[in-house]
Amino acid sequence: MRTSSWASMFRSPFVVIITLVTLWFVATFLVFPNANLLIRTFFPEGQFSFRAVEKLVSSERAMNSLWHSFALAATLAVTVNVVGIFIVLVTDYFKIRGARMLWLGYATTLIYGGIVLAAGYNFIYGRYGFVTNAVRNWFPEIDPNWFSGYFAVVVVMTLATTTNHMLFLGSSLAKIDYQTIEAARNMGASTMGILWRIVLPALRPMIFAVTVLTFLTGLGALTAPLVLGGTDFQTIAPMILTFSKSTGSRDLAALLAVILGLATIVLLAMMNRVEKSGVYFSVAKVATPLQKQRIPNPVANAAVHVAAYALFVVYATPVLLIVLFSFVHSSAIVTGSISWDSFTLDNYATVFGTPAVLRPFVVSVVYSALASVIVVGGMLFVSRLLQKHRNPLTATLEYLLHIPWILPTILIALALVMTFDRPNPMVGGQVLTGTTSLLLIAYVIVKIPFTLRLLKAAFASVPESLEDAARILGAGSMFTLRTVLVPLVLPTAAAITALNFNSLLDDYDAAVFLYHPLYQPLGVAIKASTEGENNLDSMSITFVYTVLLMVIMGFTMYLVYGRGGSSTKRHTRRARTVAAK
């Protein structure tokens, strides 16, 4: 039997060391900080207290932020679905001319998001944005703050969040058995009838899953409300950031973070329940690949084409403008008047020629690369341990390692700040808050669940007989791991490293709580450039940063999704599915 007993688990000193290190890491960085956050919120002086709750209820700003967050999440659940489903249908389901180009336009949010995207929109449509200034040159009476508040946040987040639909709903659509569509047509169903009665119901579980993800994204939104929300539309996450800056209101920040965490747990539990209720893409043993559908009504066909291209313009314009503006002086953007003379390579020369300007970029690259390699390297051993030795200890460890999946990043970051701001015996009596290591630890923590789940799946997908074959030929566990198993999971590990690196590169949520003042990461630097009139000079630099990020992320996405053998594609396809959870 493959399921090893306790004895076989502790027979190998290597396994013992891995187990002990994992236990220490889980206890120190996953369990203790979050427990500490709860204790300091509800037991401030060693006794249970509702003081934080009372402060929350009496704070109008805090209560407003709660209401705004839920309103934003509910709005996004509708708008993102409308836009996202439309995108998937025009790129993957209907025969639309230039669908490939449309897909590339809609996919631009894959290579820039978070603080970069919010800053980009702000620099184009915001108070000092090019479009706003250009229009105000002709119509001075227009409110310069027109792109601000609830409306701006919803627009930007709607466009940014449809990536989930493109990745996950798109892949679910591809799994629908085309013969079910042919059967429906054979029985006289119309194109719309088939879409409504056959296709969309089959996609319902995935639509529900991406809706929950969208709702969660809206609930925990930090960068878009912070940059574009203005004073009137602030949500929970920016409030947590504000309250955490003062020791007097940290309990309020912690309580808001706990509320966010609870909402996340409830919604993920709901999602799991729906997921377990079953998916029904195809019951066929050999499913026929989906073929694109023609829209028979010429008027409807034309209308869908127009809408698809209009949306393409909405998606592609900011990217084109960002690239364009990265070659233009800030002054020309601010005045809204650009001529041929405005174009220059000075911004790039400044970024690459001034160490202080390049520094945030380098800091982020180093942090992201280190964290990605550490988490994948560590989880390679941990996932193997969990997959090979199934017992109550490993089962508990596995659950605990998923904590970062159910807690928002800002809660994790806040818990780390509050826990390691004093000497802690679990880390050798060190104070970690304010050091460069805490952000690295946070990055490793937030990437654990995604990495673990995919690596475990990769190990599980290796046929058991390969290990048996190695064993019967006399190979020990380490030899088998090194020569047989690791080469097989290496493509997945490389893909996960690349995806982790990408997602950490422009992080703001963890960085804003944990960065070292001398090593400011990119996300924090970009956010600073959006803060008022005094920082307008850095606008062009931010455009250069954004272009560089888009190039790196685009290249990484190409490496992961765009090329390589079937095995890499297979593994990354699994990555897409698991990432949805």
């Binding site: 039997m1 007989s465 048996d468 074959a469 019967i472 030929l473 190979a475 020569t483 097989l488």
Partner: protein, 337 residues
């Protein structure tokens, strides 16, 4: 050579093999035959050392091997899906076990070349990645990898099941020839009766973790020890009580009326068999005919039974459905349980 003694294998509450006692002789081609889930692969994996029995002992060469690690049992195994290491070349796959044993490079090369020649793998194929080979070639690599360490026992877990029918027949013969050449004790698992009958020296028929019968292919086929073996191995006619009654009235007095009676298809004749005076004639009506090329199968309705009969091509003019037919049955060929 190999002995299972009161072996019990359980997975938690579920007992897969309740009490297995079995002996396999030196140099024998021994097949574990049975339907899916009958425990044959479990028995093989227990012998390989992948599963530890909850009770009983396994002896190899007279020594207790029950708790011996698989790599110390001197067994080579070919897996159902071949279990070739996809990240290695054919050569590296075959040499894997030698590498584990830290065999010198020159000796490794010699041994790999030797076994590759035996299983008819070319030098060009040895350099390829295993994914570049056909199913039949992959199977040879798996056999070579198992044999290169010169094990005393070769275990084969449905190694032909992933191949097409024609190749299966061809490899069946090659495998049997190789086994005979090497004289290696071979334990073969299959659910394919034809494979078992054509390749084996002896067969153990498994059902629900229990061995129903052990015997030569002829014994298993012609003198099936249990009703399960009789119905699982080869095609059978189940005779109604009325047919048995008719046969008893016409001379088949040895038949027990209360027992269930079976008759192999090839034991039913549609013409009076020359020289067999014991054959009893029954009248019937042709219900259908299916053509198989080398022979036809007729279904004849007679006395409440649908009795099928094999007629070789050229064995008389074709009978049309609905026409009258005579069946000739020798009562001594009827199996009763």
């Amino acid at each position: 050579m190999i002995r299972f003694e009161n072996v019990e294998v359980s997975f938690g509450e579920k007992i897969a093999i309740p009490d297995l006692t079995l002996e396999i002789e030196q140099g024998e081609f021994f097949t574990l035959l049975g339907p899916s889930g009958c425990g044959k692969t479990t028995a093989l994996r227990t012998l390989a050392g992948f599963i530890e029995p909850s009770q009983g002992e396994i002896y190899i060469d007279g020594k207790v091997a029950t708790r011996l690690p698989s790599e110390k049992r001197s067994v080579g195994m070919v897996f159902q899906n071949y279990a070739l290491f996809p990240s290695m070349s054919v050569w590296e796959n075959i040499a894997f076990g030698l590498r584990v044993r830290k065999t010198r490079r020159a000796e490794t090369a010699l041994l790999v070349d030797e076994i590759a020649a035996q299983v008819e793998l070319t030098e060009e194929q040895l350099a390829k990645n295993v994914s570049e080979l056909s199913g039949g070639q992959q199977q040879r690599v798996a056999i070579a990898r198992a044999l290169v360490l010169k094990p005393r026992i070769l275990l084969l877990d449905e190694p032909l099941s992933n191949l097409d029918a024609k190749l299966r027949v061809q490899l069946r013969e090659q495998l049997k020839n190789l086994q005979r050449e090497l004289g290696i004790t071979t334990v073969y698992v299959t659910h394919d009766q034809e494979e078992a009958l054509t390749m084996s020296d002896r067969i153990a028929v498994f059902n629900h973790g229990v061995v129903e019968q052990v015997g030569t292919p002829e014994e298993i086929y012609n003198r099936s020890g249990t009703e399960f073996v009789c119905t699982f191995v080869g095609a059978m006619n189940k005779l109604s009580g009325d047919v048995v009654h008719q046969l008893r009235q016409r001379g088949g007095t040895g038949l027990a009326p209360a027992k269930t009676s079976y008759l192999r298809l090839e034991k039913v004749s549609l013409q009076a068999p020359p020289g067999n005076t014991d054959a009893i004639r029954l009248d019937g009506v042709v219900a259908g005919r299916s053509y198989h090329g080398s022979h036809s199968t007729y279904t004849i309705d007679s006395h409440g039974s649908s009795i099928r009969a094999l007629v070789p091509e050229g064995g008389g003019s074709a009978l049309e459905p609905g026409s009258a037919a005579q069946l000739y049955i020798d009562p001594s060929s009827i199996l009763q349980y």
